[in-house]
């Protein structure tokens, strides 16, 4: 068994937490785990990717191009940026909305949201684009996007862990007073996949 997951987003969206959660869920199953994270300057609103690897025998922590099984995208353009990591036919669960970078406000670069969504929809595997902002409102906290996506992920077939195991891994990283909010966020993520 081998599962490689790429998580892409913007610094500050909680991708490090998401990769730690997935790794600890894998550890709970006795699997070999690795994560690789971007820490440093890029965390200031820059592009960031986290990578998680679960398997019987692993070497490095970074996933080769075209080898990831699943791509989780916390931001639209960053999801597109990470597509080359995904294997042909790999699944994508991503936010449909944009965080427009300062460079676009200043007219130095451009952001065509429609074209990004279109490109993702044309990918050969299963593609689910979520209205993450709306879902986060439903969960009752603007910063729960990462847990919502983990909830959505938990509905995919062929994962080594049960949804409940993933939820427990999430909660093990969350402080006491935010446990209920995150349980809700996980559930909102799961439900979003029923309609998607």
């Amino acid at each position: 068994m081998k599962l490689d997951i790429v998580i892409s987003g913007v610094g500050g969206q909680g991708s490090v937490l998401a990769s730690r959660v997935l790794a600890s869920a894998g550890m709970g199953l006795g699997l070999d785990v690795r994560t690789s994270e971007v820490i440093g300057m890029a965390q200031r609103e820059g592009s960031v990717t986290s990578q998680v690897r679960l398997g019987e025998k692993l070497y490095g922590a970074t996933i080769p191009d075209h080898e990831a099984d699943i791509l989780l995208g916390f931001e639209l353009a960053e999801t597109v940026r990470a597509v080359p990591k995904l294997k042909p036919g790999g699944a994508i669960i991503a936010s449909a909305s944009a965080i427009v970078p300062v460079s676009v406000q200043l007219g130095i670069s451009s952001y065509d949201q429609k074209a990004m969504q279109q490109y993702l929809r044309e990918q050969p595997g299963r593609v689910v684009l979520l209205d993450l902002e709306e879902l986060a409102k439903k969960a009752g906290h603007p910063k729960t996007g990462n847990v919502i996506i983990l909830g959505a992920l938990s509905t995919l077939p062929g994962l080594p862990f049960e949804p409940e195991q993933l939820l427990q891994a999430v909660l093990s990283y969350i402080p006491e007073k935010l446990q209920n909010t995150n349980k809700r966020a996980f559930e909102v993520g799961r439900q979003s996949m029923e309609v998607a």
Partner: protein
């Protein structure tokens, strides 16, 4: 034993704790910072001492002092930090240590967050010190424990050199439940051998050269080096550190056959396993990041033993000397080396992607300081010498207030140097508070003593923000807890002999602008200390909004500040969800359209 998900840097810290470290010191720097922050978190409970030192030179000297007295000590830094610590390091190799001293230096091929891609393995060779190169967090922990033993055996500091991909990777790592009992410290014993006179150096140099062979022998049977002979293949691959992972995975992906020698002790390179491989394989490929440290030693061994094996790597440009390796690159290298058709995947061309470089946080006071200095210098021909920290982002549009950036602490001296050649231009230098203490003070003293006409702006945000908000000597906390021994920057600057010293609040545009103008008008070195806490450290202020009835859509707020909390999601400027409430944009808006919510 407990299995725990640990980042490489945390694993190194746990390794040190298990080895019974007694003194740990560091100056922060990506990708090394979490080593000391983890140690600091464990220090009180486990009963050892940890400090954030003022800079890397001091960190290494503190660790050396502890090791002189027989204690186990660790110093940690990033690769360019070793440049700062190189003076004590080079001499320490001659003097040696008594207690084990492990120097962890994190390299950053890429580079991801560094000024250079320098290779600490090469530095180790230059300093004649053994170096260990971990491939994974687990190995990093084992190597840390071993490094203390080796240091005590050789009486030399031992360097552990992880790279970003080990420092910032997590793995399931076993940690011991019982705390190591610190060894009784024998104490410092007076001897002329601690005093580095030239005649001692002459003797010690002979000893140091001899220790190279002792270290090499220690590595001959090291579990960190592993040779796997493949009888089916005449290809041999030697891979050092994280490159080993890439080689193993590329072999799996391509199905190519090869004997593999994993190297975890790149200097001094043990001869035994290399010679064994040279006997078996006709074609050898050395895969390592950065400099040909292992390759050079392999070539020397092959030459000495008259081996006819073909040795490939950096010198026939198969393996790049710049940047990081990864599985894809190593796969292409292997395919090329073995004469295989390269593997390629056709992919649809993605739409043009927006540029998303890092920016100063919404509400960062540095943005205000840069705006203020630019305004104060308006109409004057001004050069802005920048420095290293979050505030290096002042180089980005629309702020454009960083014309130079070299290394920590250089801004003030670069400005002084520029002023000698271009006295007709205004010279402004920026320094962060942590950078001021790290290496800015000598440059300032130099500017005062030699009468350089510059304006130094110290961006005092009460933290070392860039590397994860570590404390520095200006604050009332240390790595281990609160302190009342904080050093006042303004008084320090006065003590350096600066006549013009003013403290300003960058969020008070009018007042701070006046201070900046006065500083620029002052003949001789002038210092402005811009004081505001880093927003990542404090609670949010009141959210702002733009009153659409007043806004003329002139775009000044966006074009002048480049704040990530101001955008145009619906066409006209709007304050976004991530506003911090610093209130600076209201002071920049020419019509006062930005108000508190």
């Amino acid at each position: 034993m407990t299995l725990k998900l640990l980042m490489g840097n945390e694993a190194i810290a746990y390794g040190a704790v298990e080895a019974g470290v007694q003194v740990a010191s560091a100056y922060p720097g990506t990708p090394s910072s979490e080593i000391l922050s983890t140690l600091a978190g464990l220090a009180l409970e486990k009963g050892f001492y940890a400090e954030w030192s003022v800079n890397e030179k001091v960190a290494l000297e503190v660790a050396a002092g502890a090791a002189y007295a027989g204690a186990r000590a660790l110093a940690a830094m990033k690769q360019v930090g070793l440049n700062v610590a190189s003076d004590p390091l080079m001499s320490l190799a001659y003097i040696g240590v008594k207690g084990g001293l492990v120097l962890v230096v994190a390299d950053d091929p890429g580079p991801h967050s560094s000024q250079t891609e320098q290779d600490t393995r090469l530095f180790a060779r230059f300093a004649k010190l053994p170096v260990l190169d971990p491939a994974t967090p687990r190995e990093a922990k084992e190597m840390t424990r071993y490094a203390f033993e080796l240091s005590e055996k050789l009486l030399l500091p031992v360097i552990l050199r992880p790279t970003t991909r080990t420092c910032h990777a997590c793995q399931d790592v076993e940690i011991q439940d019982t705390t190591a009992v610190p060894q009784p410290v024998s104490g410092f014993q007076r001897s002329p051998n601690w005093v580095i006179f030239p005649n001692l150096s002459a003797r010690k140099h002979v000893w140091l050269n001899g220790q190279q062979e002792v270290a090499r022998e220690s590595f001959e049977n090291s579990p960190f080096n592993q040779l796997t002979i493949n009888e089916q293949s005449d290809v041999g691959i030697i891979a050092c550190g994280v490159s080993y992972n890439y080689v193993m995975e590329a072999l799996q992906l391509t199905g190519l056959e090869a004997s593999v020698l994993k190297i975890g002790t790149p200097y001094p390179l043990p001869a035994g396993p290399v010679l064994q491989l040279l006997q078996h394989a006709k074609k050898i490929l050395v895969v390592e990041e950065q400099e040909p440290v292992v390759e050079d030693q392999v070539i020397a061994l092959a030459w000495k033993t008259r081996s006819t094996a073909q040795i490939s790597g950096k010198y026939d440009r198969l393996v790049a000397r710049e940047g990081e390796l990864n599985v894809n690159k190593v796969r292409a290298i292997l395919e090329n080396f073995c004469g295989r058709q390269p593997h390629s995947i056709e992919a649809a061309v993605p739409p043009e992607l927006p540029l998303r470089t890092p920016v100063l946080c919404a509400g960062c006071s540095h943005r205000a300081s840069f705006y203020i200095l630019k305004e104060a210098a308006r109409g004057k021909d001004t050069l802005f010498a920048g420095d290293i920290g979050c505030y290096t982002l002042g180089a980005m549009p629309p702020l454009n207030t960083t014309d130079t950036c070299l290394c920590m602490g250089a801004s003030v001296s670069i400005a002084a140097g520029l002023s000698r050649v271009e006295p007709h231009r205004q010279q402004v230098a920026f320094l962060g508070d942590s950078t001021f203490f790290h290496s800015g003070i000598p440059g300032l003293i130099n500017a005062v003593h030699n009468g350089a006409n510059i304006t130094l702006v110290i961006l005092d945000n009460s933290t070392t923000a860039m590397t994860g908000h570590q404390p520095h000597p200006g604050l009332n906390r240390t790595a281990m807890g609160p302190t009342d021994q904080s050093i006042n920057i303004a008084r320090m600057v006065e003590a350096c002999g600066v006549e013009f010293v003013r403290v300003a609040d960058p969020f008070d545009l009018k007042a701070a602008l006046q201070v900046a103008k006065d500083a620029l008008a002052f003949a001789g070195p002038a210092v402005v200390i811009m004081q505001r806490e880093c927003v990542a450290q404090i609670n949010k202020g009141r959210h702002r909004r733009i009153n659409p009835d007043l806004c003329t859509e002139c775009g000044a707020c966006i074009d002048e500040l480049g704040c990530p909390a101001i955008g145009k999601p619906a066409g006209q400027p709007e304050i976004l969800e991530n506003c911090f409430g610093c209130g600076f944009c209201n002071q920049v808006c020419p019509v006062g359209a930005i108000e508190e919510v």
